[in-house]
């Protein structure tokens, strides 16, 4: 399966009377965007704002970050199961608005979190400070429950991203990246001497604000299964979770999965990248056993020599991570796991809730308990009062001068466990 990503560079976003892409500027008609958001009767108000790199702007509480893409060749459309039918995606060509994102901000629950600072100390930790962000601040009909609001907010972001992606349908990209994965017999024939490697992608799947969807399916209701790696680039996986923002995968993370990119970079050279195994992180212990059994079974079935396992979240997913690692290693398959740590503010506490000697190759996204000082920003997009009560913030963490002292875990994507960042711990 071969997918070309046509990268349409976006270096600026401006409001205009008509939405279009001109050169490297994305012009956005605010009223149309609002109308698209408010198509859903659950949502009663929407404001649209722009946040650019280097600006003194803080966005919070961030629900999701989405990269606008459009499928220009090949079957299916982006975000299958939501914006398009469930036709298999991942082949042909997809145009990508590179350098921008749609950010949804909305308070689903009182303690919600997720900060993106566009400049200053906090900007170092989140990859989204480097993007031109179109921010949607969305309020629900208050009579609706949180589940209904969460879904409406999630889908509104996908609709706007799809709308913006469509603007690039007729554009031809100057830069094209090609990703090609092969079938099992092809791989064996083409790369007989190379070690076979799979990627075990663990997806958060526990309930409200803790869910992930694949082709529209709530992954907690699925057994461990497989994707061709390129499907991920077309939005096969979308995020429905944002609690404890530092180590949750936004939809943007999935669309740009760094492990998939890096394995493709080695594919055919040092390894034979066989595919992606997706597995869930349910709270039912029998599910954990079953799902990790299936991960190990599929690795064995595919005859791989090595896997990279990425975790999502903290606490009970540590158990899933260790189960996956242990069972896959027990099949004689080499593993590297990617996680993050909660080692306390002083770094002296035990980092993970579970451990095993099989996990002897660990990459870490850093200690989420590290305390950072975020300077006052001139402009706040969203609900700043949330900062005082979000996870990792504490009473008075919102200082009188507008600065914030809080744990790293408030920053969206700061300790991402797909290995999106350079931040780590020793």
């Amino acid at each position: 399966m071969k997918l070309e990503l046509g990268l349409i560079k976006i270096e600026d976003i401006q409001f205009a009377s008509e939405s279009k892409i001109d050169g490297t500027t994305l012009f956005v008609d605010k009223e149309t965007v609002k109308k698209i958001v408010l198509e859903d009767e659950v949502l009663v108000s929407c404001d649209v704002d722009i946040a650019k790199p280097g600006e003194s702007v803080r966005i919070t509480p961030v629900k999701d970050v989405i990269e606008p893409r459009v499928k220009v060749e090949g079957t299916g459309g982006v975000f299958p199961g939501w914006m398009h039918k469930v036709d298999t995606v991942g082949s042909g060509r997809t145009n990508v608005l590179k350098g921008c994102a749609v950010v949804t901000a909305g308070k689903v629950v009182g303690f919600q979190e997720g900060i993106i600072d566009m400049s200053g100390e906090g900007a170092k930790y989140t990859p989204f400070s480097k993007l031109n962000n179109l921010v949607l601040i969305i309020e629900p009909d208050e009579s609706k429950d949180q589940h209904t609001y969460e879904k409406a907010l999630r889908l509104a972001g996908l609709r706007v991203a799809t709308y913006l992606g469509e603007l690039a349908r007729e554009l031809s990209a100057k830069e094209v990246k090609t990703f090609e994965s092969c079938t099992i017999p092809e791989g064996i024939e083409k790369y007989p001497g190379l070690p076979r490697v799979a990627y075990v992608l663990m997806l958060q799947s526990q309930g409200l604000l803790h869910d992930t969807y694949v082709y529209g399916v709530d992954i907690k209701q699925s057994l461990t299964t497989m994707l061709m790696p390129t499907e991920i680039f077309d939005g096969a996986i979308i995020s429905g979770n944002c609690v404890s923002a530092c180590d949750k995968n936004t939809t943007f993370h999935h669309q740009n999965n760094p492990v998939v990119e890096e394995l493709f970079a080695e594919h055919g050279k040092t390894i034979n990248f066989v595919g992606v195994i997706i597995t869930n992180e349910n709270v039912y212990l029998a599910d954990k056993e079953r799902s990790s059994n299936w991960s190990a079974k599929m690795c064995k079935f595919l005859g791989v020599d090595g896997v990279i396992i990425s975790q999502e979240g903290f606490g009970n997913p540590d158990t899933d991570l260790i189960m996956n690692c242990k069972k896959i290693e027990a099949e004689g398959i080499k593993t590297v796991i990617i996680t993050d740590e909660y080692a306390g503010r002083d770094g002296a506490s035990q980092s993970l809730a579970d451990a095993d000697k099989a996990a002897d190759a660990v990459v870490t996204g850093g200690n989420a308990n590290v305390v950072i000082k975020l300077p006052k920003m001139d402009k706040i997009i969203g609900h700043i009062e949330a900062v005082d009560i979000i996870a990792g913030g504490w009473d008075g963490s919102l200082q009188e001068d507008g600065s914030i002292e809080a744990e790293l875990q408030v920053i969206t994507g700061a300790t991402n466990e797909m290995g999106f960042n350079c931040y780590s711990a020793r």
Partner: protein, 124 residues
């Protein structure tokens, strides 16, 4: 199935269908009760640390265990003990009782999340 909880919403929703033990106490009290039940031979069904809300942040916890009494499962003992250790680790931070001290509206949201987590685990 028995649900050990300190969340009224969970009691209201599930007490007709399952045995629900409503604890008048904290998150940790729920963990301790579950630990005791595990030692009596009840199998642990859901992970005690479900959800991404940290143990010092949410005041609510619900855990499902098996109704029938069987052999004591040492794996379960390890999970519950490690969960209690994790709880204690988070209790050492500056605001150990953020969940307990939360405003009423926030507690409503915490209760809703807890209900969603346990509901998603058992209503299948």
């Amino acid at each position: 199935m028995i649900i050990i909880t300190n969340n009224d919403k969970v009691y209201e929703k599930f007490s007709e269908r399952y045995k629900v033990v409503l604890i008048d106490g904290t998150y940790k009290d729920v963990l301790i009760k579950v630990r005791d039940m595990i030692h009596l031979g009840h199998k642990l069904l859901t992970h005690p640390l479900m959800g991404s809300v940290k143990p010092n942040e949410t005041p609510y916890r619900s855990i499902a265990i098996a109704d029938q009494i069987d052999r004591v499962d040492t794996g379960d003992i390890i999970i519950i003990e490690e969960s209690i250790m994790t709880f204690d680790k988070f209790a050492k931070v500056d605001r150990p009782n953020r969940g307990q001290d939360a405003t009423t509206t926030m507690k409503v949201d915490y209760a809703e999340i807890d209900l969603s987590l346990i509901g998603n685990a058992i209503d299948r």
